[in-house]
């Protein structure tokens, strides 16, 4: 599989939280050849099943990466300009000068308006423009705008993915489409591998607005163990090293209360075994990922988190090393390949266990 081409397709697709239609279709197409069955969850997550070969009832392993992206929504029309609100954690500092698509009665290409520095008082040039002074412009008359656009219409960000040097790529929605790609890569690898567990690949919806898709999809799948995949802060010049991880040196395996210690140990062993470089990412509490929701599903699910380091999160220039995505995919596939049904036993806490 051409990973860069896959990432490009995924990153450029539209799919704002709650409105994942286009990205879901794309994921469905790319998973179709690799899974035995697929269905759509009630909140819009996509759930694929690749059956294992172990004796029934087989244990269920769930992979989850969110396919939704942050975006904007029309909150008002003023003259011919659109007032906006954020869907998910879009960053107002990066909106000025963006190209966007307004999803009105038909798709209307537009731009995020900026006042040129020539007309700005000196003090204002130093102030970030607050969201309530940011407008989207589709270049039509007020009459036409009122005919074609309504309050509540979505606005998605348009940005082609760019290939930087050293197999690094930069795009608008690599959070978390990069991990959807990693799951896709693992499914492809699993075509050539016998595995005991049933694997549920889930592209979750509405992560950016509060992990909603993961809550409901995990309930539906009722997994025996789960691995969530997301992006984490990559090293960049204006952030302290202790908050970030380097690009291109492998994905991370998270440790902390959100993660089952034995599952984490198992992932580390597999990574060492297959010589896949990784970092430990200590997360002292809320991980802010689908893992947070999955862990407390039904009676509780042993959960782990694999992350891909990514620079400039929630900006249209999210940047990562392709190699890290490939490694995350390899790690997932290797984990499945090496998991006997007895792993279920190993993960269980023992009443009589003593240390």
């Amino acid at each position: 599989m051409e990973v860069v081409a896959l990432l490009k397709q995924l990153s450029e697709a539209e799919g704002i939280a709650g409105f994942e239609g286009p990205i879901r279709e794309l994921v469905r197409q790319s998973w179709e050849p690799f899974v035995d069955e697929m269905h759509e969850g009630k909140l819009g997550s996509l759930i694929g099943l690749k059956r294992g070969t172990g004796p029934e009832p087989r244990p269920k392993l769930m992979f989850a990466a969110h396919m939704d992206e942050i975006g904007l929504m029309v909150t008002g029309i003023e003259k011919e300009f659109l007032r906006i609100a954020r869907v998910g954690g879009a960053d107002p500092r990066v909106l000025l000068g963006l190209e966007v698509m307004v999803h009105g009665r038909r798709k209307l290409p537009g731009v995020v308006a900026t006042r040129p520095p020539h007309v700005l008082p000196r003090e204002e040039r130093k102030k970030a423009v607050p969201l309530d002074e940011i407008f989207v412009d589709v270049g039509l008359s007020e009459e036409k705008v009122r005919e074609l656009v309504s309050v509540g219409d979505l606005i998605s960000i348009r940005r082609e993915m760019s290939e930087l040097k050293n197999r690094r790529v930069s795009g608008k929605a690599l959070d978390d489409r990069a991990c959807v790609a990693a799951i896709t890569l693992s499914l492809e690898r699993l075509q050539r591998v016998q595995h005991a567990w049933d694997v549920f690949a889930v592209a979750t919806a509405q992560e950016e607005t509060g992990l909603k898709g993961a809550v409901t999809a995990a309930y539906g799948v009722a997994p025996d163990a789960a691995i969530a995949l997301d992006v984490t802060f990559g090293e960049q010049s204006d952030v302290s090293k202790s908050d970030t991880l380097p690009l291109g040196k492998g994905p991370t395996i998270a440790i902390g209360p959100n993660f089952h210690p034995k599952l984490v140990e198992r992932l580390k062993e597999v990574a060492k075994d297959r010589e896949i470089p990784y970092h430990i990412d200590p997360i002292p509490g809320r991980s802010g990922t689908d893992a947070w929701a999955i862990q407390v599903t039904r009676e509780g699910v042993p959960t782990a988190l694999i992350s891909v380091p990514l620079r400039y999160m929630h900006q249209p220039v999210e940047t990562l090393a392709v190699e890290d995505v490939e490694r995350a995919g390899r790690l997932l596939a290797a984990f499945v390949a090496e998991s006997e049904t007895s792993l279920l036993e190993d993960l269980a806490w023992k009443v009589d266990e003593r240390k």
Partner: protein, 341 residues
Amino acid sequence: MILRELSDAFGVSGNEDDVRAIVLNAVRAHVDEIKIDAMGNVLAVKHGTGQDPLRVMLAAHMDEIGLMVVGHDDNGFLKVRSVGGIDPRLLPGTLFSVGPERLPGVIGVKPVHLLQSGEAKKVSKIEDLAVDIGAQNKDEAEKLAPLGTYATFATRFRELESTVSGKAFDDRAGCAVLVELLRGEPFTFDLHAAFTVQEEVGLRGARVAAFAIDPDCAFALEGTIADEIPKEKDASPTTRLGKGPAITVMDRSFIADRRLVRLLIDTAEDQDIPYQIKQPGLGGTDAGAIHLAREGVPSATVAVPSRYIHSPVALLSMDDFDNTVRLMRESLSRLTCDTLE
């Protein structure tokens, strides 16, 4: 469309080569003389039909704002400074084309999740930002983008519903108007076209071009500010999209010649060409340098209104563009020695 080609071209002040090549190709067959001067201005003459001894200069600048690489850090990031008036508020999240090979480069800032309170309201200074081209260390960064490498917005031209969007409409819109005028029929006088360099760093090209041409009068052709965003204190929208070419009476760089302004307005009214007067006192153009050449040159500025100039993506109406070409063509047809009496 010549505007598409010009808008997509790379031409930060001091590095206008790509734009120059497009201009030369576009006008060569339609002019009688053409040369490039020491600064890099393209100077072309379209001979008149001979009745009028006037020397008329039309100027549009080829350069655009951008960035220049001034350093490399140990992690392979490029340190940059602004060339011309780039607005630091819109650098974060922006995609650039870096150097002659147009390497994609991005500027990102600290993720919103990691901001301390108050940080979200501050605009990062350009000194604190860096362009990421994917280089992994200083050596690699130096090799890929040596000191002095130019970068420009990577936006591509698009046709929207009734407008077009793209970068550098200031002043590729003016360049495109000038190309269209040169492609048309000759006037009674010799038309001296100057596609100038280095307007954005201080009207440098126009100054020497005007000296060389030594015109009797001059017009600067521009893409100008249309600041129509709703705001609390709305002194004026400067110009409005769709309301026709903008005629300058006075800006920060000059006071337009009243006789030329009269000619433009009379022509527009006689010919039913929509026009607007640009809000006085804002901006500046090549006319600021041209009107001071030698013993002085009566000058005027006519511009295509454009929203969001100096940002990665500006917006203009093709109706305004076509009307600017029309207004200039009709006005020049009426221009004689008597206009300036």
